[in-house]
Amino acid sequence: MAGGRTQFARGAGSATGGTGVRTIGVVLAALLGDPSRLGQPVGGEVLDEARAILDHAAGSGAGSWSADEPLRLAKASVRGLLECPRRSLADPDLLDSGDLTNIVLGQIVDAGAKLATLGPAVPPTVAAACEYLVAIGDERVADHLLDVGAEAAEALLADAAARLDPLVAGWPATIDGQWWPRVEEPVRLRLAGGAVVVSGKLDILLGGPPTGLPGLVVELKGGQWHDSVRQDGHLYALLVGLRDGVAPAAVLSIAAADGATQLEPIRPEVVLHAAERVATAIETAAAIAAGEPARACPGSYCAFCPLRPGCPEGTAAHEAAA
């Protein structure tokens, strides 16, 4: 197995910066060139055990939901229920969309890497990535670039290019068709007859059944590395494993802003841990749906939580941090 966690030097986000993001392509190319480095994927009994953990959690809490009105979980809501159940209930309309510029940067880098995976003759540019986003019906980047004005848009596109160009320059020129390169692969798990639904959308999926090659999930983050990237990768590995009957052998996560890369083998413990996290999220959600008050668990997210004014724990934590 090629490495557990490989954290590249930060600073690769500038055009003349480090070589981390270039190295990512080398890592990917090496894995595709020698699939045995990915190791043996998890299947059979481990996935059965993971499924049993989830079935038990969903079965015990499913009375609150039905196939018509299910509990819908995805990576952010699972994380939210585990971090701070109270904050996870915040009205979506009140949630700050965050640093839009960073989100836009992330979308452009994400789109560019997906285009590179689809194998154009030349590495995709920022302009091509923006056009790709419009073509998939996502107008947010185009709208944002118009909103911020010409000068800011130019600076943003330059920043995006500084992240994207080295990333795609090192991307494998062509990914052999036998890997079945797929982008934005949807995956969904229905539990308790559809009363609980857990879903996700993988940035890039390579290999896996029925290709005869081990599965490799590639997750792209346009921003800097944060540890929830790992948890999201674990969740995706679990969902793909339960769908396909065999888990991806590894998840390769890439943060383009700082060049951080992690190749994480999906061991049995990882699959079971991911299942336990989802089970805990379901149980927490079931308690809330049954009328129990949602616990507040203060954290750094309190700084931008819309519920903080009415949350004594969050207010205290925020004031203490300030």
Binding site: E69, P70, L118, I136, P210
Partner: protein, 353 residues
């Protein structure tokens, strides 16, 4: 309407043409008569000054009309008609024809016992290249047009979605594909595929002329389409929603396919890429009845839309779709639903403070 896991390969049991009331042809005849009578009644009651235009009844319209009649009526001509090709709409058509070409070359032509697994992205790119040289179907003409316009982004997205379509289809159905499976494509001349069946167009005796077409567009047929009814109609979905919708889809397609073909198929098979499910719904009478209700209701709502002078929201069915509905600010049930106390989002209560 309980689905069963699709078993795929079945022994050939021969065809037994049956035009009796209980046979596949007899049941389809009965269904056609029943649906025609119901449509006749609806059209006969249409206001004299109403002009509903041509009414196309497909699954999208059926799902929309059943989901919220008020929203469906309000969607207007733009919402009822074919919106034109887009990468998302073209994905299935491109995926099917590209897979059919692969089958033509690597399976059917060589009668391979161990046929080569397709490489979805390569299969799609190969087809796109050929289509640009000699477009022989509407979707091929659209791809050619994109090429002429230099719209590489749309081509890339189309290739990506079609690739995912093939990958999901093959992954869920298994490889080699089930015996007797034939893809349904618009492209002529593929020995691995067949053309779709024209829509059912009921002949109404009413003096009012309303052109109604009930259509079913399966992705594949499994078994020989013959009066015995020993064939399945298969629909592949890249994304699922919930079980209820899958059952409704099966009901509509069972009825629409029976009406169009004139034979009731043995089963409707739904394959779902994101969950990996293969669901098989035997076509029992209750499934056909539900499907007929769905189809007739599309016509009912279209006729009503042509008669109603102003907005009418009495039969609105509020749901999470209200958040994106064009009527969300004027539809009282929708407005009430969106601001209701104790509302839920994704199955959980929503806190505003």
């Amino acid at each position: 309407m309980s689905p069963h896991v699709f078993e795929g390969k079945r022994p050939h049991t021969g065809d037994f043409p049956s035009k009796t009331a209980g046979g596949a042809v007899g049941r389809a005849d009965l269904l056609r008569r029943g649906v025609t009578e119901r449509l006749e009644e609806l059209v006969g009651g249409l206001a004299a000054d109403a002009d509903p235009g041509d009414v196309y009844v497909g699954w999208v319209a059926a799902a929309d009309a059943a989901g919220c009649p008020a929203r469906f009526r309000a969607s207007g001509v733009d919402g009822w008609g074919f919106p034109g090709w887009s990468p998302a709409l073209a994905a299935g058509a491109v995926g099917r024809v590209a897979l059919a070409r692969h089958l033509d070359r690597h399976v059917t032509a060589v009668a391979a016992s161990n046929p080569a697994l397709p490489h979805p992205l390569a299969a799609v790119k190969t087809w796109m290249k050929e289509a640009r040289e000699t477009p022989t179907s509407p979707v091929a003409e659209w791809v050619t047009q994109l090429t002429r316009q230099g719209d590489r982004a749309a081509l890339a997205v189309t290739a990506s979605l079609a690739t995912r379509w093939i990958a999901g289809f093959v992954r869920v159905l298994g490889w080699p594909l089930p015996e007797g499976l034939v893809l349904v494509v618009d492209d002529p001349g593929s020995p691995s595929a067949r053309r779709g069946t024209p829509a059912f167009r009921p002949r109404l005796s009413s003096t009012r002329r309303v052109a109604i077409a009930v259509a079913s567009k399966p992705d594949a047929m499994v078994g020989t389409v013959a009066p015995s009814g020993r064939f399945d109609v298969l629909f592949h979905r890249a994304n699922s929603s919930d079980d209820l919708t899958l059952a409704e889809r099966a009901a509509f397609e069972a009825t629409a396919a029976s009406l169009a073909i004139g034979i009731v198929p043995r089963a409707v098979v739904l394959t779902v890429a994101d969950t990996g499910e293969r669901l098989r719904f035997p076509v029992a009478d209750d499934l056909l009845e539900r499907g007929a209700d769905l189809a007739v209701d599309v016509v009912r709502q279209r006729l009503r839309a042509s008669e109603v002078a102003g907005d009418e929201y009495g039969d609105a069915v509020p749901s999470s779709a209200c958040r994106y509905c064009s009527e969300r600010e004027t539809c009282p049930p929708g407005v009430a639903w969106l601001i209701r106390p104790g509302r839920r989002h994704n199955g959980l209560p929503v806190l505003t403070s």
